[in-house]
């Protein structure tokens, strides 16, 4: 409870900046609650979250399982609705939108990277990368060109026609990152992206994220429970019992 007060009473300096410079604000969450009903029992997964994330930030969201970090990721990813509270994505209140509008936002503004890669089987790397563009009316030539461009960015241009099962875990995750980047989203949501990878590959993937953040200025929100993975981020937010208990920025 005390930590919640702390969060409320000490809004982080970037939140103030946002008022002056609305352009830079990617995520603004105010007093967000999420309650699940499991039969007759109500489980409060989120109990009043306030957070602002600006363009170009690299944020690690940490917490034990059941802390609410997955729930906030689903809400930020426009996959789930909050029970109460406001969520602005690039200044737009998205909590009230229809599911078709959400699909559009997921397509244009959010790039997902999952723990299990979630590539389509028996579909080549480049076609996996093209997938998000299939839902926004690109011509197939433009799609292919853009997909190859992004694959190059993640260092996989030579393997563009390989199938996922012909690629290593790290390479598959690079394909997934390319897929997340392909529509030039406002932010990338990465949910335990190194959870299925060995240490060496995890380092490679995290360096890729870091590189994308620093050179391309891409906003990244990363969920992890490993402190050494979170070290790659510039800012670390820790969840516990549905509340943010700490929000630290590296200098």
């Amino acid at each position: 409870m005390a930590s919640e007060m702390l969060e409320h009473n000490n809004p982080s300096p970037p939140s103030r900046d946002v008022h002056l410079d609305g352009e830079a604000e990617v995520i603004r969450i105010r007093d967000l609650h999420k309650t699940y009903k499991m039969g007759d029992i109500e489980v409060a997964a989120l109990r009043g979250i306030n957070v602002t994330i600006r363009r170009g930030e690299f944020v690690a969201v940490m917490g034990a399982s059941g802390s609410g970090k997955s729930t906030i990721m689903n809400i930020v990813g426009c996959l789930d609705r909050p029970t109460h509270g406001a969520y602005f994505l690039e200044g737009q209140d998205v909590s009230a939108l229809s599911s078709d509008e959400w699909a559009h936002i997921r397509n244009r503004k959010i790039g997902f990277v999952f723990q299990g890669f979630n590539l389509l089987h028996r579909t080549s790397a480049v076609e996996n990368v093209e997938l998000p563009m299939m839902y926004n009316g690109f011509l197939s030539k433009e799609r292919r060109q853009r997909a190859l461009e992004v694959l190059k960015l993640v260092g996989l241009e030579e393997r563009s026609h390989h199938l996922p099962n012909q690629l290593s875990g790290g390479q598959q995750q690079r394909v997934a990152i390319a897929r997340a980047l392909v529509n030039r989203p406002s932010l990338i949501l990465a949910d335990e992206p190194t959870g299925n990878l060995d240490t060496k590959t995890s380092v490679e993937i995290m360096e890729l994220f870091q590189n994308l953040n620093e050179t391309e200025g891409i906003t990244i929100v990363l969920v992890t429970h490993e402190p050494d993975i979170a070290e790659y981020a510039k800012r670390q937010i820790v969840f516990r019992d549905g509340l943010i208990i700490s929000d630290n920025r590296k200098n």
């Binding site: 996959l79 997921r106 997902f112 979630n118 839902y135």
Partner: protein
């Protein structure tokens, strides 16, 4: 959008070739069976129609009406209302009639030399030959001059010739009917028996005028036999004859006809109706297999949706709307059903030709049935693909992504 869904569907189907083919097999068999069965049914119907037509569907028989005496009704032809000039008027005034002949008929004991034979004697006009397609084996048929002069001339059928003359040539010989001498002017060609065993060759034909005046002593005729120009115009001829006779017989509007017109097209219609019933029956049995094929598609689509839950989740996460997912699965079901339909059409055409040659059954492939089969198989795809597709579209992306 649709093109893309089509591409995705084709790829998904190509990934599971055997399964897709087995699923399509239901539709293939269904459509093939519908086409082959309807082809057999239609072939049978056509054959029945041809057989009926060969009986003379363009023929009409006009009989006098019935009469009720003291509560007892005579059979048809009981009234004495038809006269020979009715036949002439029908022929002259109705263009769709190609010929009309009065018919008067009575069984008589016929004597030739020392032989005698009881046989129906038929009084007819020259047109009778053409109407009933009688051949004359030897000599000539009755002429208009014979009718006008009430000539005592006769043609004899094969059976009569054999029984009265044996091996002798009857032409020019004299036969006696009711003690009146008739010259034999011709021998009719053989016609054989009718369907119910009557010997058509056991007959003598004389001019109807001679028959009425000299043999029977009557002024009315028993029937008029009419040929329409074609089977199609039979009904038109029928209607025109009816109005002509009503007018000639001075029947007031609303009053009953004093004659009856019968034609074989009723029989033809009944027979072709029963053939239609058979075709419908065969077709509906075959449709059941199409239904079963559709259920097969639904089954496989449901399996496919479950198997590809994660794929659906991924697609939703990268921006597919519910309707995109729905379209994808419906298109997949329709592609499966419609290509099954196309193969089924080919199988149906092939097997109906095979039946034609192997079983020597007549078959007739109707293009409209082919078109309908194709549309129905596509519709089956939409119908049975709808539920699985909706199930896919209603998946929650969070659950779908987590699905193992």
């Amino acid at each position: 959008m649709l093109l893309m869904a089509l591409r995705i569907a084709l790829r998904a189907l190509a990934r599971n070739k055997l399964r897709s083919f087995l699923t399509m097999l239901g539709i293939i068999i269904g459509v093939g069976a519908v086409i082959a069965m309807v082809a057999i049914g239609e072939g049978a119907k056509k054959r029945v129609q041809e057989q009926i037509a060969s009986l003379g569907t363009n023929l009409l028989v006009i009989l006098p009406g019935t009469v009720t005496l003291g509560g007892a009704r005579t059979g048809s032809g009981g009234r004495q209302t038809l006269v020979a000039s009715d036949a002439k008027a029908i022929m002259d005034e109705i263009p769709v009639v190609s010929g009309a002949s009065p018919v008067v008929r009575q069984v008589q004991q016929v004597i030739a030399g020392d032989q005698n034979w009881s046989t129906p004697v038929q009084g007819v006009a020259p047109e009778f030959q053409q109407i009933r397609e009688w051949q004359v084996q030897e000599g000539r048929f009755i002429s208009q001059a014979d009718v006008e002069s009430t000539a005592k001339v006769a043609l004899i059928g094969q059976t009569v010739a054999y029984n009265l003359f044996g091996d002798n040539d009857p032409i020019g010989a004299v036969i006696r009917i009711k003690k009146i001498p008739f010259h034999v002017i011709g021998i009719l060609g053989a016609k054989g028996q009718t369907g119910n065993g009557t010997d058509q060759d056991d007959v003598i034909m004389v001019p109807y005028s001679t028959m009425m005046k000299l043999v029977m002593g009557v002024t009315y005729i028993q029937q008029i036999i009419v040929a329409a120009v074609s089977a199609d115009t039979t009904q038109e001829a029928n209607n025109q004859i009816a109005s002509l006779l009503r007018q000639r017989h001075k029947i007031r509007p609303g009053a009953d006809d004093d004659f009856m017109i019968r034609n074989l097209s009723d029989i033809a219609e009944a027979a072709s109706n029963s053939a239609t019933v058979m075709a419908v029956l065969l077709g509906s049995i075959a449709s059941v297999s199409l239904l079963v094929g559709g259920i097969g598609i639904m089954n496989i689509m449901l399996v496919s949706v479950t198997e590809r839950t994660r794929e659906i989740g991924i697609r939703m996460a990268v921006g597919a709307r519910s309707r995109d997912i729905m379209l994808q699965f419906i298109v997949e079901a329709v592609v499966m059903a419609a290509s099954g339909g196309v193969i089924g059409i080919l199988v149906g055409i092939g097997s109906s030709n095979l039946i034609k040659y192997l079983a020597e059954l007549p078959t007739l492939i109707r293009p409209d049935i082919i078109a309908i089969s194709f549309l129905v198989s596509g519709t089956v795809g939409i119908f049975f693909g709808f539920y699985p597709a909706r199930k896919a579209a209603q998946l929650d992306p969070i659950d779908a992504l987590r699905y193992e």
